[in-house]
């Protein structure tokens, strides 16, 4: 399986010896094996040239850039291996057809609610009293069945998510408080961790969509945005609870990330380089974790689950086979 590489230091990324090399500011040289790279995540200040870009393009390696304050700044994607006008036409048709779009939007919310609920029941099984929250989430799920437009579907997702976030304070130790979900910039430690995790999920979904002929800007739950790959936002909603939030709970509860891993300044609170490294490492380990897939009859990695989601969507659009959203089954 191809891997993600994360660059936290500042320096220069270049093509050398037919592979990738990072030369850090203090002159250290580190190599990245290009043949098993899926994407390179740049968190530090990195110089590169066009020769590197053509080389990455040739090897189908994406670059995801995180700019000032960890904010996702954009991706440099390799040229499409897959192109299919038919797929894009069908994708737009489904978007433009109110019933079909609503059905897809509802499926995504259904999956997202299910995956949030699994996290809550997991922690309920570990001695927390989340009965009320589970009731609220279930109520949102029931309401979803009868919604008649996409905005309403968004609304039920938001209600469920609010109930879901209310459990965070109980799950996490003293010092990590959500108050309320805010970003751009995140005001406290917990918001900052959620944002960082979500942006990694988002970037991985961008890579997964790119592997298909789907157009990343045409989405169903989120409104096709002008700047963002909104289809990636749709898919990311399904995976955030399974990937980002679980990693967050684990790291904070085991004290691998503490309050000292954050820097606060002018109303924003961000992970330090050490904190981002710790989180990134745990996140990548999670992506590589495998689970038995009931329909494929083999083990697949969490990372591959995102790829499967893109394939399922494409298949639905082209053949009309019903789209079943990803729901954590284990």
């Amino acid at each position: 399986m191809d891997r993600n590489y994360h660059v936290f230091s500042a320096g220069r990324l270049e093509r050398q010896d037919d592979t990738l090399r990072l030369v850090t500011e203090d002159g250290e040289k580190k190599y990245i094996p290009v043949e098993n790279a899926e994407a390179v995540f740049l968190h530090g200040q990195i110089d590169y040239n066009t020769r590197l870009l053509s080389f990455l393009n040739k090897h189908g390696v994406a670059v995801h850039v995180f700019g000032w304050k960890d904010y996702y700044a954009g991706s440099l994607m390799p040229k499409r291996g897959q192109t299919s006008g038919q797929t894009v036409v069908e994708q737009v048709r489904a978007y433009d057809h109110p019933d079909r779009r609503l059905k897809l939007a509802k499926a995504i919310v259904e999956g997202s609610i299910h995956n949030m609920r699994t996290n809550v029941t997991y922690y309920a099984g570990r001695g927390h009293d989340f009965d009320e929250v589970i009731e609220d989430i279930d109520a949102a799920g029931e309401r979803l069945e009868s919604v008649t437009d996409v905005n309403e579907a968004m609304g039920t997702e938001a209600t469920a998510r609010k109930a879901y976030y209310s459990t965070f304070d109980a799950i996490l130790p003293e010092g990590f408080r959500l108050d309320r979900r805010e970003y751009n910039p995140p005001p406290n430690e917990l918001n900052s961790l959620i944002s960082f995790g979500n942006s990694l999920v988002y970037a991985n979904c961008v890579s997964a969509i790119r592997a298909t002929a789907l157009d990343p800007t045409i989405s169903y739950l989120h409104e096709p945005g002008e700047r963002r790959y909104s289809l990636s936002l749709d898919l990311a909603d399904l995976f955030k609870p399974v990937l980002a939030d679980r990693v967050l709970f684990r790291l904070v509860n085991r004290n691998q990330i503490g309050l000292e891993d954050f820097e606060t300044e002018l109303g924003s609170c961000l992970l330090t380089e050490r904190g981002r490294k710790t989180y990134g490492k745990a996140f990548e380990e999670t992506l590589e974790r495998t689970v038995e897939h009931p329909r494929l009859n083999r083990k697949v990695s969490y990372q591959y689950l995102m790829r499967i989601e893109a394939y399922k969507l494409k298949k639905h659009l082209l053949t009309g086979e019903p789209y079943e959203p990803f729901k954590r089954w284990w």
Binding site: R3, K30, P33
Partner: protein, 86 residues
């Protein structure tokens, strides 16, 4: 699949082997590389090694079906540590 690759080349040709190896694996010591490789990439690597070798030179590839079978102990600094987080 996890592999360890060791090589013995004519002194002025060692760079050529290193250059091939670095595209797939992590360079850990003089003439030694190791790392995870896919079943698809392994035959590609094998082919490149065979094309490069001259009489009198040798490459040994140790294969394990997964790194969970590997018992790896490092004394001193681990050159492969954090190879994905730079």
């Amino acid at each position: 699949m996890y592999v360890v690759l060791v090589y013995d080349m004519e002194a002025e040709r060692t760079q050529k082997m290193l250059k091939i190896g670095r595209r797939y694996l992590t360079h850990v010591q003089n003439s030694v590389l190791e790392g995870e490789i896919t079943e698809g990439d392994l035959p590609k690597l094998r082919g490149e090694i065979e094309d490069l070798l001259k009489p009198g030179e040798s490459v040994i590839l140790y294969e394990l079906s997964s790194d969970t079978l590997l018992d790896r102990t490092v004394y001193g600094d681990d050159p492969a540590e954090d190879s994905r987080f730079l």
